[in-house]
Amino acid sequence: MQVTRRQFFKFCAGGLGGSSVAMLGFSAGEALAEVRSFKLTRTTEVRNTCPYCSVGCGLIMSSLGDRAKNAKSTIIHIEGDADHPVNRGTLCPKGAGLLDFIYSPNRLKYPEYRAPGSNEWTRISWDDAFSRIARLMKNDRDKNFVAKTADGLTVNRWLTTGFLAASAASNETGYLTNKMLRSLGMIALDNQARV
């Protein structure tokens, strides 16, 4: 029987497991064995819905902090909601990875502006952003709004600015978006139903 180095280690390993440590007086008491402590023991649970596909899986998000005033909630774990009649606790690889969506390094954190011809972003304030965008919208709308067609039909539309609405935005956001845009007479409005 040819014993390779690898097999020799295996052989040794078998032996060691059996007796050698006892010979060293290594007592079992020192070999404490505890499972990793359960990380959700006192987290706060909030129910949510997966933002990806349309199965609408229920989620339970567990966050650090008990909603006390001085604690800022930090979501540390997301898993399926076992009570949910469709997903029954399951999640697909997208849903099971949602925690990394929340903490993606590519989350946007500040309003930013890129000037014509520029190669970079600059940070701006929300008020600045709203003012400048609203001014651009108003200038465009005032200049290009079509109240009547050449043959006298009242059409009240604004065609020169368009809007794509978010496919994962809530109904409440979607409703408000539509309501606001139609009041401006906007027509070039679409969503992600097609793509």
């Binding site: 020799f8 390993a13 032996g15 440590v21 290594f26 499972v35 990793r36 399951t90 925690l99």
Partner: protein, 292 residues
Amino acid sequence: MALQSLDIKRRSATTTPPPGVRKTVELAKLIDISKCIGCKACQAACMEWNDLRDEVGTTTGVYDNPRDLNEKTWTLMRYAEVEPERGKLEWLIRKDGCMHCADPGCLKACPAPGAVIQYSNGIVDFHEENCIGCGYCVTGCPFNIPRLSREDSKVYKCTLCSDRVAAGLEPACVKTCPTGAILFGTKEDMLHHAAGRVTDLKSRGFAKAGIYDPQGVGGTHVLYVLQHADKPDLYCGLPSDPSIGPMVSLWKGAVKPLTSLAFGMIAAGAFFHYVIKGPNRVSEEIEKELEP
């Protein structure tokens, strides 16, 4: 109390018996390959629950990613495109990971006291704080599962979410599995369910469907339902008759008394080396040998 409350059945390299009067139910995870869609939700849930993030790798021309198990990837899907009948393609996708053997080769091979623990519910868990990084468990495993970390020279593998199970929950991969291809419960219930699945598969044309619960390692606490139980090798090299390596077995038998002293000396060396020098940095040579 930790030891008693955890209902330990066996500890590596420890001769004193664990507290053993309690008997808990024997648990198992059932992986029904005929229901698996290979979505990798189990991989995602495993990473998320265990706070593991492997490197973003590359695509090498197959769907398997990461390419292999490692210290940060405790489970992964292995994809096989096979044609058991000519022209009839089957995409067999197997979730690979620790099988939680009843007779665990890793535990038997481990020289570090308490680094490998088997609970009475069947879970085989690694306790990295006791691991000396020798890699013997890697060679002792008939399924090629444990992986030695290059970062901290400890060996890691699936814990069957022992932390969740201890808190009364199912493992993360089980809970997340969208199609119910992974189930968790008593081994008895899992075998019963698996038998029903085998009947169903036979009615759908898989004459050789069966359960994978290999007796060479005393049975496992991770079971498979296979469409082709006669050819486990089709499933990315699932061993057809796994057993603990010949050397580990040999030791357990006739040679033990003869070699006890010699190995004692080796262990002493290893242990004192560990105490004095800290955890082993595995030499490149050994590492190469440990690579599958």
